[in-house]
Structures are given as C-alpha cells and as structure tokens.
C-alpha cells in the first residue's frame, strides 16, 4: 500500500510540474525579485546593468511623492464613482430583462458583447466620440442649437480636469455593464417565486419588494462586483492610456498633477522613464493597499456570515 501511495504521489507531481514550473518562475519568484529591485535606482540609458543600489531611498521618496498620493486619490475617485454607477446600470438592465421576453438572449448577448472587445480600441473610439469640434458629442450639441462656442468644443470633455475622469468612467460603464447584468440576472432568476408571493400576501408594494427582498438576496453578487471593481480600479491602465494619457493637468499647490493619472498609469509612467526601482517600490505599496482592502473585505464577509448563522 505504501508503495502505491508513493507512486501515486510521483504521478501527481508529474502532472502538476509544468504548471508549478511556470507558477514558481513567473508568479512567485517575481514577488521577491520585485522587493529586491525596489532597492535600486534609475538608469538613464534604459540598460538594466547600470542600476545602482540606493537602499531605502525609493520608499523615502514615495512618502513625499505628491504625484503618487494624488494618483491613489484618483484611483479612489475612479472606484468611488465607477462601482456604484456600474452596479446601478447593471441592476437596471437585469431588472428589465428579468421578464418573460421574446428574444431575451439577443438582448443579453448585445449588452454583453462590448465586454469581450479590446479595451484599447474601445478607448480610442470613445476618445474620438468625445473629441472637440468633430466628435459626436460636440457635433450633436452644435446641431441641437448650441452654436459654435460651447464646452464640448473649447476644452472638450476629455480636456477639462473636472470632466475627464467622469467621461472615462461613462465609457467604461457602457462597456462593462453587460457583465454585471448577466451576474445579477442569473441571481434574480434563482430567487424562488414564493418569496414574492409571501410578500404579496403581506401587502408589500413593488418598491418594498425590491428593497427588502431582492436587494438583500443579491448582496453576495453586489459584494463580488465591489471587490472586482476595486481590483479593476487598481489595475486600470489601458483606458487611461488610450483616452487621456493621464491628463489634463491640474495645479495642486506647487505641483501639477494629471487629473486622470490613476495609480496604474503613474506606475507605468515611472517604469517608462527608466525608474525601474521606484516602479517596483510603487508596486509594493499597491500590494500592501490591496492586502488591506481584501483583509477588510474578509472581515466584513466573515461578520455577515456569522450574522446569518445566528439568525438561523
């Protein structure tokens, strides 16, 4: 018996080894390597051999780097606007589709389709839609009687610090709404009909049914959407690269900061400038923030599960 177990284990290791090889080399090792790199400085000629050891300087710089903390703030704003907006739009679509409809799968597919399309291309298209003078939005406004000189023409939607981030979020919401819709729709259809019948007997109206029955039952899905939304905001890069390149610039005290420069984009900019060590240090800061967020989320989720247990 003992012999068979060893054999089974070696077979298991054989099957596991290709995956584990790539997992170890490209996902585990980089975590430590990144930490090592974060103690090195800048190269001006982009050659990797000339990196010089700077100790803890990168981390000291980060603490004083207004651009970095601003980019975190922008990321936070991005999440704070895009997550509720995305959930609301997805919820509206899911509630509309949660009826007996002919051609339901057509609508489901049509709303989901933009999710699979390339982010860069979507960003480029929306940049052109928002473009001053010639973009669809500016044209529509002129056509509808806005004359030649109006906000959509002069700085443009993406050209003004107060609207640029919002414009990116709207474009991304229209791209991503179908995803949340499918999740919520599946959950809505899993709610048994007799729950609503019981509410009908108690004399609840549609509004009460939504707030008191539907929404609480959808809480796990909404929680999932919040978490993926947060991770998505921390990883946001392509949409910013395609649409605003971090701009338009904004004066903040002595510094000028990019009004849409999210953390992911700031990291890329440092990387692109050859500040490899600094970029590695920034990514460590982002890791810590992610760990804090997931820790908090686990705590909340755990607490809720306990409540559920008590109620039973």
């Amino acid at each position: 018996m003992a012999i068979k177990t060893t054999k089974d284990t070696s077979v298991a290791l054989g099957f596991l080894s290709p995956f584990m090889l790539f997992f170890g080399v490209f996902l585990i090792f980089p975590i430590f390597y990144s930490f090592y790199l974060s103690f090195f400085g800048t190269t001006t000629d982009y050659s990797l051999a000339n990196l010089n050891f700077v100790g803890l300087d990168n981390y000291r710089t980060i603490l004083k780097d207004i651009q970095f903390w601003w980019s975190l703030f922008v990321t936070f704003m991005y999440a704070a606007i895009s997550i509720p907006l995305g959930i609301t739009v997805s919820m509206a679509l899911a509630l509309l589709l949660d009826n007996k409809l002919f051609g339901k799968s057509f609508f489901r597919s049509a709303f989901f389709l933009p999710n699979v399309l390339d982010m860069l291309v979507v960003g480029v298209i929306w940049t052109l839609i928002y473009a001053p003078e010639h973009g669809i939005v500016a044209r529509l406004w002129s056509w509808a009687g806005g004359g030649g000189e109006h906000f959509f023409n002069a700085p443009g939607i993406l050209g003004h610090p107060s609207t640029a981030l919002l414009a990116v979020i709207i474009a991304m919401t229209l791209k991503g709404a179908g995803f949340g819709m499918v999740l919520l729709l599946a959950a809505l259809q899993n709610i048994p009909g007799d729950v609503y019948e019981a509410a009908d007997i108690d004399g609840a109206n549609e509004w009460q049914k939504f707030w008191l029955i539907t929404l609480p039952l959808l809480r796990p899905i909404i929680g999932f959407m919040v978490i993926t939304g947060l991770i998505g905001s921390l990883n946001a890069f392509t949409e910013i690269y395609a649409m605003t390149a971090g701009g338009p610039q904004l004066a903040l005290g002595d510094e000028t900061v990019g009004s849409t420069s999210v953390a992911g984009y700031y990291l890329f900019k440092q990387f692109n400038a050859g500040n490899y060590g600094y970029a590695a240090a920034i990514s460590y800061m982002l890791l810590i923030i992610t760990l804090v967020i997931t820790g908090v989320q686990q705590k909340i989720a755990g607490k809720k599960n306990n409540d559920g247990g008590k109620r039973k």
Partner: protein
C-alpha cells in the same frame, strides 16, 4: 368608450410611433450599411473607385428606402394586429411589454453605437471622416473646406454611413495599395509593418498561449481534483490567495526576467509569463469535481495507464469547460496591451501585435480617423464574430468566478 380605454389607445399610439421610428431607423441603417460595404469592396482603388461606389449607393438608394419601409410596415401590421386581437384585460400588460422592448432596444443602440460608428468611419475616404453623410452632388459643390465644415454642422449627426465609401483605408493599413507596394521594394521591413502581420502575430501568440494554458491547467486541475498529494488543500488555497495580487505588481520583475533571458522583443516574451493561470486551474477543478471517481476506477481496471485515464476519460468529459478556458485565455492575450507594449521591440515588425500596432499607428496618423478605425476593425471584428458563435462559453466562463463565491 371609457376614459380608461381612450388613455390606453393614446398610449398605444405613442408607443407605436416610437416603435416605427426605431424599426425604420435600424432596418434602414443596417440595409444601407450592407450595401455600402458591398459597394466599397467591389469598387477599385483611389478617387475613381470612390466615385464608382458612390454611384452604386445612389442608384440603390430608392431600393434601400423601400425595403426598410416594407419591413417597418410589416412589423407595424403585426403589432397592431396582435394588439387588436388581444383580450381587453391583457392590453395594459401588452403596452408594458412594448415599452420594455423599446427601452431595451434604446439601451442596445446606446451600447453598440460606438462600434457601429467605428465600422462606418473605416469606410470613409481620407479627409471626409468627420463629415456626416450628404447627397453626392452637394458634396462636390462645396470645395471650400470652411464651407464644407459649416455644411457638415447642419447635416444630421445620426446619419453616419458614408454616401461615397471607399475600401482604401483597409488597403492602406494592410499596405497593399499601389503607393505602399512601390515603397515596399525600397524598404521591405517598413512594409512588413502592416496590420496583416500584426494580426497574424496576435493570432499566433494568443492561440499558443491559450493552448498551453489549457493543457497545463487541465493537468494541474486533474491532480487537485482526483489525485492524492500531501498538503494538497493547503497548496490549492495558497494558489487561490495569489489571485488577490494585482497584476501591475508583476510588471517590473517580469520585464527584468524576460530581458535577462534574452527574450526581449520576441514572441515568446508576449505569453511566457502568463502561462500559469490559477483561475484556469480553479475553474477546471470545480468542473472535474463533478466527474464520478467510479469512471476513473473503471478505466484503471481495464488497464489504462495514468496518462490514458487523463486523456481518454478526463479530457473528453471536460471539453465544454476546456473550450471556455481556451476562449477566455485567447481573449486575455489578444488584448493584453500593457505587457505586450513594454516587451515589444518596435524595430522588429515580427514582434508587434495588434494592440501595440494600433497604439503605434495612432501616434503616426493622429488625424486620419478612417485609417485608425479600419485598423481597429482587425482587432474587434474577429472577436465579435467569435463571440457570436461561442457566446455561451464566453458568458458562462467569465461569470464563473462570481457564482462560486
């Protein structure tokens, strides 16, 4: 007639009017788009080709209009008949449904409009991308650009299908137009920087990655689902925990590793770091857990080797989920812009993939929207077609993670 039924009839007429506008608009645009593409493809290169396509368009104008009027009339008759034939009691329900359809249709238009605009602009001749469609005769009368601009301001902004389409944009991004062909003799490397090459590169990178990821993930998932291994559970939980690390974290170290391996600017660099997919293992393991152990035991009793059990029993039974993972991995590599951007050697056209090529291209031809849009088509149209045929796999796969939470 009671006031209630009058109100109902008025509401029906309003909804009917909205519906007629929608059906007429959508069917008209779709038919016109089809004719426009055919006209553009069948006509030759350059100005004469554009004129040729424009004349085809204007000849078929009446035919297109009457076709969409017929469609609208048929749909209207159908709806009116249904409404008239329906029971008095269900008529409010009927109106509610009609309203629902119209709202949903408006949503679809809003969500898909950007892509339709892209598909239209790709066929517009150089310098006219920003003009909305106008009758051909009028266009020639306005040679002054300021006047032209003024006229376009008053054109209907919704009428975005070009009246004089051209296929030149596609010829130019593929570098098969006559000008690029003659340039290609002088500079073959520069001529290789076209979207045909980029497309093939992306296809090769994404397919290889998808194939290897599904293969490795299936083997690993088989172990986690069916094989004894010390600390199996702990290892699996550890794998899942690494999914929480934001992807940005790996950019710097993976870039250094790829450079040290001497792979910078090669196709290997594009996918090698993404071959270990924890999500894939998780997804496949969840599925393999539902395969009964008795099937494996039966195969072993029949004398199947370990490898045969995996190949003959596990793989065939997991085909739907394997296909899903394949498509999702293909997709994520197809549009993995950031990583492909940083490991691309721009001097070597054989390593440029579609998203990177598009970013490069956009910097070169800032004002030529028609070119940028036709280049974008290479990335979007194949994926959209793939989605149409395999949407079930895409939707189920992408929403898997949430359902298991």
């Amino acid at each position: 007639m009671s006031p209630k039924s009058i109100a109902r009839t008025v509401l029906f007429l309003i909804l009917m009017a909205i519906m007629i506008v929608m059906v007429f608009g959508i069917s008209g645009q779709v038919i016109k788009y089809g004719v426009m593409v055919m006209a553009a493809v069948s006509s030759g290169e350059g100005v004469s080709g554009t004129e040729n396509a424009a004349s085809i368009m204007s000849k078929t104008n009446e035919f297109m209009a009457s076709l969409s009027i017929i469609i609208t009339a048929l749909v209207s008759i159908f709806v009116v008949k249904k409404y008239a034939g329906s029971n008095e009691r269900v008529r409010w329900e009927f109106l509610r449904r009609m309203f629902l359809y119209e709202i949903l249709m408006a949503g679809v238009i809003l969500v898909l409009f950007p892509f339709f605009w892209m598909l239209c602009t790709a066929f517009k001749p150089a310098g006219q991308e920003l003009l909305f469609a106008k009758p051909v005769g009028q266009e020639q009368a306005l040679d002054n650009s300021a006047e032209q601009d003024q006229a376009s301001l008053h054109g209907n902004p919704f009428d975005i299908i070009p009246e004089s389409p051209t296929f030149d944009n596609f010829r130019r991004v593929l570098k098969i137009d006559s000008k690029s062909k003659s340039m290609g003799v002088i500079d073959p490397v520069e001529n290789k920087k076209n979207f045909g090459t980029y497309f093939l590169n992306s296809l090769l990178v994404s397919t290889t990655a998808a194939f290897l990821v599904t293969f490795f993930s299936a083997m690993a998932a088989y172990v986690f689902s069916k094989k004894p291994l010390p600390f199996k559970k702990n290892i699996f939980i550890f794998l899942l925990a690494t999914m929480m690390i934001p992807g940005m974290m790996f950019m710097v170290p993976q870039f250094f590793m790829i450079c040290k391996m001497g792979l910078f600017g090669t196709k290997w660099a594009m996918f090698l770091p993404h071959l270990a997919s924890v999500f894939g293992v998780f997804m496949l393991k969840q599925f393999m857990d539902t395969i009964p152990d008795s099937l494996l035991e039966a195969a072993q009793i029949d004398g199947a080797s370990e490898w045969q059990v995996f190949r003959v029993v596990i793989i065939p039974l997991s085909i739907p989920i394997i296909l899903t993972l394949f498509l999702l991995t293909f997709l994520s590599n197809w549009s993995n812009f950031l990583w492909q951007l940083i490991v691309t050697d721009f001097e070597n056209p054989l390593s440029i993939t579609l998203p990177v090529g598009l970013a490069l291209f956009r910097g070169q031809y800032v004002s030529e929207l028609g070119l940028i849009m036709s280049a974008s088509c290479f990335s979007i149209v194949p994926v959209a077609v793939l989605f149409l045929f395999a949407q079930r796999y895409f939707i189920e796969g992408m929403t898997q993670g949430a359902v298991k939470e």
